[in-house]
């Protein structure tokens, strides 16, 4: 077995799930939240010539998506190392 003990295995998975939950929360807020549900409210704010809700729907959410994946990648890399389950 790759983990040092069973507790480590459980802790690793739990930590992974909590990271997923945080990142997917951001994913949801920028796209479904800012781009769709609250779009009308945000559209009253102007942002570099855009209505803010419109900007999130057609530009901003995509930039955040890219950032989320890179954050996940680097956090997981550190976590794999900490638990000794990284690839050689």
């Amino acid at each position: 077995m790759a983990f040092r003990n069973d507790d480590d295995k459980k802790a690793y998975w739990k930590e992974n799930l909590s990271l997923l939950a945080k990142l997917l929360f951001v994913w949801f807020v920028v796209s479904f939240g800012a781009g769709i549900i609250f779009v009308d409210a945000l559209d009253t704010i102007h942002f570099f010539g855009f209505k803010l809700g419109f900007w999130f729907a057609q530009q901003g959410s995509i930039y955040v998506f890219v950032a989320l994946i890179f954050v996940y990648m680097s956090k997981m890399k550190a976590m794999d190392k900490r638990y000794g389950v990284n690839e050689e």
């Binding site: 690793y12 990142l23 781009g35 769709i36 209505k51 900007w55 995509i62 990648m73 794999d80 990284n86």
Partner: protein
């Protein structure tokens, strides 16, 4: 030099490049053919995934769609990019660790069931054929407009090229050709967008030009102008939506989940050496895709203003048909622009109400954009090469999934388990060849419902594969019966809803008749929920998955020990 000669030269040069790469990267084993030997570096895999994903629809149609839809076009922008977050966080690393060749492989092994495998194979083949017919059509449209050959010849040329490098190189050939195609396609998309952005707003980056003030000295913002024009001409305001909030939500969600469940995208993550690389290449893929996807809405807005001003004139009184610019005449020949002089004054007028005299097809916006903006001939030729690259790269990826499903999942795993590697490779090549011919046939004789079935493909992937894979990874105890009944219930529900509104009773396809106001495009989201719910209920009343399967699931949850993707 005239446009046509330049187009021949540029498109010809890109074809020569693809063929050279195919010869250099030909496949020697099934491992090469299915997953490129599992040795593709993450950055290159990211580019290949981006090219695989961005189809003729992304390249040719999307900006045009947004141009006509305004804010509502965001469903495609967010839907087709947000799925990558799900893919990178919830699917790709675990499937890479699992280390098999195909999606049906995962479903079949995880749910220890040939039935599950077979259901998955047929879903995969259906989704891929739906898509590939549209791609071949895209090649045909580009060829017929820019090279002035007829659509049949265009499709045949496209088929021959794809046949050559798919059959010869398999995944390995496809991957490296897709890297080249990505470069061609992104360059072809960005160049005209930058030119137009500078002309309209003085900004080099289309992404900032989108929100900038116009360069004509009026001090008005581009989007403000577009809103004013839209309202004046009887369209809805460009930056506000016409779809209901719930429908926007469901369509976006279905496209995201569908993206994450599409077999030709998932299979790309089997080609990298390590689990960490799978996460990384999903990140690169989305970054590369984002270049095109953040440019598209800008291009859409510029194109809209340019088109309205060219047809209606700066005073919005219309312009004389006799002096119409050459792009209008060029596209009239393809039937994608029509002018009906209703009031008989010889003047063209475009609007969203009864004054309208123009019919402009949305699909021409990207291709006609350089002509509308009077860009140099080489830019027009470049756009043609980009459109062909987009269509070819996606077709090749889809055809590979079809051929793998037949030779690996059906023949090797079902009917001929003792087949040698060499004859399996032969069958894979044969299946790819047959699939190309069928796809070409649909490209030349498109069934009238190609556009409708696209919604179907996404809904199907969203309501079948995605929940089955997610439960396979995140629930150790989910069993075969739960997963199979979930998949069948999800697909059946989604298919029934779409078939009813699209084919049986299209007249009823209005918001008043939709369940909860959800259009057929967005119903995959509800289908996904049905899948989860049915799987859970069946699982609760049957035995949980056996011990060895639970151990298998635990072992895919951490990276250590990921070997090459293999058949054993």
């Amino acid at each position: 030099m005239d446009v046509q000669l330049l187009t021949f030269i540029i498109v010809g040069a890109t074809f020569a490049l693809y063929i050279a790469i195919a010869i250099w990267a030909r496949a020697g084993s099934t491992n090469d053919f299915y997953v490129a030997g599992g040795g593709v570096p993450p950055v290159l895999n990211g580019m290949a995934t981006a090219a695989d994903w961005m189809s003729a629809a992304s390249f040719i149609s999307m900006a045009g769609l947004i141009s006509f839809m305004g804010y509502d076009g965001a469903v495609y922008l967010m839907g087709w990019t947000g799925g990558y977050v799900l893919l990178a966080l919830c699917l790709a690393p675990y499937l890479r660790k699992f280390g098999k060749f195909t999606v049906p492989d995962f479903i079949g092994d995880r749910y220890y069931s040939q039935t599950a495998r077979t259901v998955a194979v047929f879903c995969a083949i259906f989704v891929c054929f739906t898509y590939v017919a549209g791609q071949m059509r895209g090649v045909g449209v580009v060829f017929s407009r820019f090279l002035e050959v007829d659509i049949v010849t265009g499709v045949v040329i496209g088929m021959v090229i794809v046949f050559f490098y798919t059959v010869l190189g398999g995944m390995k050939g496809i991957t490296y050709t897709q890297v080249a195609q990505f470069c061609v396609m992104i360059f072809a998309y960005i160049v005209p967008a930058v030119f137009i952005s500078i002309m309209v707003t003085g900004h080099i980056l289309p992404q900032t030009g989108f929100g900038a003030t116009l360069a004509d000295g009026s001090g008005m913002h581009l989007l403000q102008k577009l809103d004013n024009l839209s309202v004046e001409l009887g369209f809805h305001e460009y930056t506000s939506g016409s779809k209901s909030t719930i429908d926007m939500f469901f369509i976006t969600f279905a496209l995201m989940v569908g993206t994450a469940g599409l077999p030709h995208v998932i299979v790309r993550f089997f080609t990298v050496p390590k689990v960490h690389d799978a996460r990384k290449s999903a990140g690169y893929a989305l970054a590369f895709i984002a270049i095109l996807y953040t440019t598209a809405p800008s291009l859409a807005a510029f194109a809209r203003v340019n088109m309205i001003e060219t047809i209606n004139g700066p005073e919005l009184t219309g312009t004389s048909y006799a002096e119409a610019p050459s792009w209008i005449k060029n596209w009239e020949q393809t039937g994608l622009i029509e002018f009906t002089d209703k009031n008989g004054d010889g003047v063209m007028f475009y609007s969203g109400d009864e004054r309208n005299e123009m019919k402009v097809d949305r699909d021409i916006m990207v291709l006609a954009n350089p002509e509308i903006a009077n860009l140099p001939a080489w830019v027009i030729a470049l756009v043609a090469a980009g459109g062909v690259a987009a269509a070819l790269s996606t077709s090749a990826g889809l055809l590979l999934v079809i051929s793998t499903s037949v030779s690996h999942d059906l023949l090797k795993r079902n009917f001929m388990p003792n087949i040698t590697d060499k004859s399996e490779l032969f069958f894979a090549r044969l299946a790819a060849g047959v699939a190309i011919v069928i796809a070409g046939y649909f490209g030349i004789n498109p069934p009238g419902f190609v556009a409708q079935v696209v919604a179907f493909a996404f809904g199907l992937a969203a309501s079948s594969f995605f929940p089955a894979i997610i439960m396979g990874i995140f629930s150790k105890r989910m069993n075969d019966k739960g997963a199979i009944s979930g998949m069948i219930a999800g697909i059946a529900f989604t298919a029934a809803y779409i078939i009813y509104f699209k084919f049986i009773n299209p007249a009823a396809n209005v918001p008043e008749n939709w369940w909860f106001g959800i259009s057929p495009e967005g119903i995959g989201t509800l289908g996904m929920m049905v899948n989860f719910l049915v799987a859970f209920l069946v699982f609760k009343s049957t035995d949980e998955a056996p011990e060895e399967i639970q151990e298998l699931v635990e072992s895919i949850r951490y990276p250590k020990g990921a070997g090459e993707a293999s058949a054993h």
